[in-house]
Homo-oligomer: 553 residues x 2
């Protein structure tokens, strides 16, 4: 029995200030198929190196982690990897070239943060500079403070993709603060050596990040002589998880949280492991059942090339690769990346979050697939054309660099988190649009041990933050959290989709995608998105009104 | 300007299964005065060792930490030191000799606990055996689980002094579990080397302890196939703080908490630093204002002996010491210990918690002081006679071993916690019964650095757990906590004394002392104590009823 597994990258910050073309190329490899797990293990046993020249063991293992099922019969453990860290060095070089633009100017500051909040060993007292961005244009002392709880990447990227906070700052006369997550962006506790080993990476986890936020916010308020200011935290995706957890763990520091597209139930099989890929598949099926079927059967067609004479050369031609493909699975990965991410960012307006895309890009992809049937295109030509929408909306790409990217050493940031605490089991049933695979925890664990020398703690997140029976637990505990989700986003299936109490609210939009509500408002925004944001503003206003009222009495 | 400071020991577990005489002797030294801080620093500078033969530097510093003001004019930083760790080795030897008796038999188990929950460094994966005690006599699968969140000492001691849980187990058909706190009792992560240095002690703190409880409870429920059981946590004193914090941080694991005599507001000057000693003083003043005055003026009388010809010999005679006193301050410490602890355990019935004492021992002490006036006794003879109630209720002690105890190396357990996270500022104003002293954070910090090589984090507990404006923060957040306090107990001043919400309840008894409600019921219990326990049972019943009702819907 062969076991195979896959890591889907969670892209967000990956595209941060990279040229989109570069970013898309880099992302191509995130789902690049290297081999099945058994093959990998055999190679490891036999001391054989990956076919790629100059590929280190760690790198090889990374590729194994991001490998996905090819001729899958059984067994996969899937987590998501944002890929933020992957681009740290590139981003650093790019910083001067492409400075992000914000709706309001942000001042950059650095806070001396303690390395380990939960230990008092001498080492734990070490400090590092944690970056944060701040705008006080509308604020007055005692007024609300809106904090973005940074996720897995440069904080500028999240600030520039959270226009909602800028939009509502004047109304609330709010101080805006965007705090970078430790081990990402410039907030590297050990500088260039931060990713060196488990010894340094050990301090990278969500609990330390939350404590960072707590310490920084408290210090900031004190320095601003504004200890009585109400603080509301905002976050999207992993940042949304952090925002929700921050309100739950630090209610004395944060009055409330807007947790957008926060899959806090994606752990420990609280939601079915199939939910993510089922949701991607459903997006495409809803757009067109023919489209869904074409994509679904394309995998087998592609696999056929691996045994075909000169199969890779033929496939390379169909996929217009710049250089010949090294494996069929790299092309499969390239396609799946496009479909998964397009589902995530299936926004109602033209946007450039993951990649520049038109409004409702899943519809557009399916129109390409369905429309090309009449022109007699093969299934593979049709899925390639659809994926080209994602990789080449501008039409400027002459060829695609599929599976040739080798600079993968920087991905260990989220890769590390996925291999330790952020263990999100995933699988793909026969009903899903991709090749079926099952969970393979054992294989996943072995791989993490090989990569980092430490084992995952698959039950830790739910032990520390809960999740099981959340509707019962929080029915009579906690308050002031908005869980917003757009059902187009496959991560929504791991989110809180029903109101839990009168103040732990689920705002669900059928047509919404990955934290669409956090994006800056545009004239093209549909009514449901406007209404969602209106509700969020009203709820936050209620929290703040209550806070000031409580403070007076 | 001389700066002086003091650490009051928090005795609880210190007496655990030690003969009371031994324990009282050991505790004498906890407030043994060594020197003023400046004197200490001078000695340290000059490389001079303490006068005591064979006393190590660390030991010397420990004594400095526990030193209290003698000719105080200014400056002290006071924290409480439970002294649990102090007796670890002795307790270990005593274990077979004096096995504690429980109202129900308890099975001893050991859980493989992870060393560091909040780091993923390779070292953090190390495991140790965490001890817990369990009784399932009344329990059935799915029924309630009552957990005692162990404090700073052997878990048997807390179990045997928490008869309330045994008393109510039949009514609730509850599983009883008493979990030992890491680094105390047998739950030593590095065995005999656990107290070796900050490198090992670094893992001793409240957040790691709470996470231990979470992991252990979750695992236990899984092993018992009883994941749906409601868990209620109980704790007294530091254990009460842990119980309250556990409910706040792990609501998904614990349905509610009975936090008895939990001074969660004793940090960061939330309550005035004078509150503790003011409360002790008030206990004595309420018993008799003459008694209060006699005690208050006795310190100056005692100080006079330090400049008197053969003063120590004369004072030794008055205090019936077995060997001559080494300093006046050791006698002062011996007295203060008696007064502080008697105030804490000013129970309405005869009890043997800190020491065997009659009902309402503060009253009895004051009766001794007031009554002896008629017999022409001096002030010092009167306060000595009062303190003898505490040290010699049985009357079997022929002499007292004041200030000669040298085995202080084991106190670093709570001493460590007090020097890192559990920083409780205290001072004594002119109005209090003891010699006045002020806070001296700088001196305290220097001392901790000298002792352990690490600095205290004085704002960490309130950053992690809150405390400031608690009534506002928890008004709309959290639920199901009982804060019970007896106003005779000086720690009550750092407790939650008013209802915060409909389910975060303060039960305050005017005549109650240090977690009196957790003690086993006796026929002599006064009505107010019975009523307090009745209310606690009713509230816990309501939580459990709601839990099962919620689970059904």
């Amino acid at each position: 029995m062969r076991r195979e597994f896959l890591v889907i990258s969670f892209p967000e910050s990956a595209f941060q200030r990279l040229g989109n073309v570069t970013a898309r190329r880099l992302f191509g490899i995130l789902t690049w198929t290297v081999s099945t797990f058994e093959r990998e293990r055999r190679r490891r046993r036999e001391g054989e190196r990956e076919r790629m020249p100059g590929c280190s063991c760690l790198l090889l293992l990374f590729f194994t982690i991001v490998a996905h099922a090819t001729r899958s019969t059984k067994a996969s453990m899937v987590t998501y990897v944002p890929g933020a860290a992957y681009h740290l060095s590139s981003l650093r070089q790019d910083r001067k070239i492409s400075k992000p633009e914000f709706p309001l100017p942000l001042q950059t500051r650095y806070f001396p943060q303690i390395l380990d909040h939960f230990s008092f060993r001498p080492d734990s007292y070490r400090t590092f500079h944690q970056k944060y961005l701040i705008n006080s244009h509308f604020w007055h002392i005692g007024g609300p403070i809106f904090v973005y709880t940074g996720n897995e990447g440069d904080i500028e990227w999240f600030a520039s993709n959270t226009g909602f906070m800028f939009d509502i700052a004047p109304k609330f006369r709010a101080l805006l603060v965007f705090i970078e997550h430790r081990f990402y962006g410039e907030s590297l506790p050990f500088g260039k050596k931060s990713y060196k080993s488990a010894e340094t990476l050990g301090y990278l986890n969500s609990q330390q990040a939350l404590a960072d936020f707590a310490v920084l916010i408290r210090s900031l308020k004190q320095n601003l002589s504004s200890e009585a200011s109400p603080v509301v935290v905002f976050g999207g995706s992993y940042g949304g998880m952090l925002a929700a957890w921050f309100r739950l763990k630090y209610p004395h520091i944060s009055l409330g949280a807007l947790a957008s597209s926060a899959p806090i139930l994606q752990f420990d099989n609280i939601v079915p492991s199939t939910s993510f890929y089922d949701a991607v598949s459903q997006d495409f099926k809803d757009a067109s059942s023919d489209c869904f079927e074409v994509i679904k059967r394309s995998w087998a067609e592609m696999e056929a090339f691996s045994t075909m004479n000169a199969g890779l050369t033929k496939l390379s031609k169909i996929f217009r690769t710049c250089k010949d493909l090294r494996s069929v699975s790299s092309a499969i990965g390239w396609l799946q990346t496009a479909f998964v991410y397009t589902a995530m960012v299936n926004y109602p307006t033209e946007a450039n979050f993951m990649a520049p895309l038109p409004a409702y890009p899943v519809d557009k992809m399916c129109k390409i697939i369905d429309g090309s049937a009449a022109r007699g295109a093969s299934d593979l030509e049709r899925v390639f054309a659809a994926a080209s929408l994602y990789y080449n909306y501008s039409g400027s790409e002459k060829c695609f660099d599929i599976g040739h990217e080798e600079d993968a050493h920087g991905l260990s940031g989220w890769g590390w988190q996925a291999c330790t605490e952020m263990v999100m089991p995933m699988s793909c049933s026969d009903e899903c649009m991709f090749q079926p695979f099952e969970e393979d925890y054992k294989g996943f664990e072995e791989n993490c041990v090989f990569r980092f020398g430490v084992k995952p703690r698959p039950h830790w997140i739910t032990t520390e933050f809960g999740g099981q029976r959340i509707e019962k637990v929080l029915k009579r505990f906690g308050s002031n959290i908005i869980f917003s989700n757009g059902m187009q986003d496959p991560w929504s299936r791991g989110g809180v989709l029903k109101n839990i109490s009168s103040s732990i609210i689920a705002l669900v939009t059928k047509q919404g995608a990955h934290h669409a509500d956090l994006r800056r408002e545009t004239e093209e925004d549909p009514d449901w998105l406007k209404e969602q944001r209106r509700q969020e503003v009203a709820i936050i206003q209620k929290w703040i009104d209550e806070y000031y009222s409580d403070s007076r009495h």
